[in-house]
Symmetry: C2
Amino acid sequence: MANIRDVAQHAGVSVATVSRYLNNKGYISEEAKRVISKAIEELNYEPSMIARSLSTKQSTFIGLIVPDIVNPFFPELARAIEDIALAYGYTVILCNSDEDLEKEINYVRTLQQKYVAGFIVATSHVEAEHYTGLDVPIVAIDRRIHSSIPYIATDNREGARIGTEHLLQSGCKNILCMRGPSGLGPADDRFAGFNDAVSGKDIETHIIECPFQFEVAETMVKKVLQDVPIDGIFASSDVTAAGAMKAAYSLGMHVPDQLQIVGYDGTMLAGQLTPGLTTVAQDLYKIGAMAARMLIKLIEGHELTEREVLIPAELLIRETTRSET
Amino acid sequence: MANIRDVAQHAGVSVATVSRYLNNKGYISEEAKRVISKAIEELNYEPSMIARSLSTKQSTFIGLIVPDIVNPFFPELARAIEDIALAYGYTVILCNSDEDLEKEINYVRTLQQKYVAGFIVATSHVEAEHYTGLDVPIVAIDRRIHSSIPYIATDNREGARIGTEHLLQSGCKNILCMRGPSGLGPADDRFAGFNDAVSGKDIETHIIECPFQFEVAETMVKKVLQDVPIDGIFASSDVTAAGAMKAAYSLGMHVPDQLQIVGYDGTMLAGQLTPGLTTVAQDLYKIGAMAARMLIKLIEGHELTEREVLIPAELLIRETTRSET
DNA sequence: ATGAAAGCGCTAACAC
DNA sequence: GTGTTAGCGCTTTCAT
């Protein structure tokens, strides 16, 4: 493959001129432009990003650290990030941390060696020091890492409030709240939103703490449904809502006639269930896109206008609730 | 950040020795090892992969090109690839092609500039030349690109045959086959498998060609269900099977009592539907892992023992069929 | 067993 | 406006 020197030679100019041409920097005559562009064409020249990176100490790689890309929550985020990155000439490196601190640290180290320009991180370790000390920018999505790190996520508290409110308006009096793991930022926020909605109202509430796993959700809910009269469920995720639906089905409870369910996330799954799951949709794409834009701004040395942004959630009413609007 | 020269100086040796130490190449005294390792420790030195790449013209990046990571089919593949890559010291770059040739070519070019070591490609453009001419290794997954390019996928034909067979054994006599887009390798193979199973048998079959989209599947199936008596559906994907389930539901047809359904893929979705979807599961993780191993072998200059591998599919019997075993 | 030095392909002063 | 040249951090002959 041709290199910059070949191009220079072929065009009868110096490498510096070619470099200027490539980077649109400094003055350069029309004639030179013409002849260089021709040489590039003829030689089928592609500049080496590696060499450029070595020289500039910059790169166009963005490290994306997620717990597990298989979790339906992340692909859309990744997709958005990738789209924006592409538009700005960046390239995204996918890292699955499995919530494992060890792996995460390892990734950060490896990618630093490879000169990543920055990180987008969806994780939540208390060990924030591992990120705060980095010399490349970071932005956190979904979960807050540290006050010094820009953060972008759904307004989970408000989203959960809206979802719960919908259950209330649909006539539920005995509500089961399937809250997510306590200690996990978004899960806590959603639980707070649930409480915002029900507090002071004349309704029975039951709380269970349930990991974001289908089977676990199914068994836990089945048990509750057998023990207590429940006419509405607020699940903290679509996956757990799906588990609840299955539990109801196996108990012969009709959804939404006897039991109404609201999920959270707005993943594809929600729309593909039967009946269609009413859910509080996060604008995952927007979160990802914003995170990518923020990171790129940071990478390119700009200031951020806001270091913390909350994207509103949107209630998607489908068939697991009886909207009485 | 310290560089190799700092380490050399600190250790009182030359950079060449440090380099040898780093790469376990050439002779190096125990004493030197000791002193270098100490210096590395103290300086918190991390070798620059960029510089190394520039020098060796090799890299540890693997480009993964998929149509859309949001399609539930791909995350698991990506996950497996990433796991293996990590184990071998490689790093994966995520690229969404949207089946868009333009974008794909663009990616390949960009990544070449960045010195990717190889590509794993899940796509199917007839324009195979864009790949055959590359100077880095490639392996194709899911869809065949060109006879010269190693290929790894599920044995779709046999998988579809098994799935259809299950419908037959479960007593279906009027089967609807929702085949995928014709011309698409895996879709064609699955259709062939369906035919393998039904040909010569005394049953009615109806064929529709249906893209891998939920809504489209739902409407198409609904129409068919209203027009013709159907007691079994073989869908070419879980997503379309989910659409079929919804269609049945809206028509008040009970699954599996009046209508049995078999999906294909074995994605999470299948297990999270109610009732649980019987499906022909692809071992996506295995495909991804194998692809990654093959690519790395190729990158590292080894020969491949087989250039084409078909992974068997496995029937996952759940609740949308009445197994009469 | 180790060191000196010439690249790898590009950028960025600095000089002309 | 353009060219010269010294790096960027590492690998790798070739001496010693």
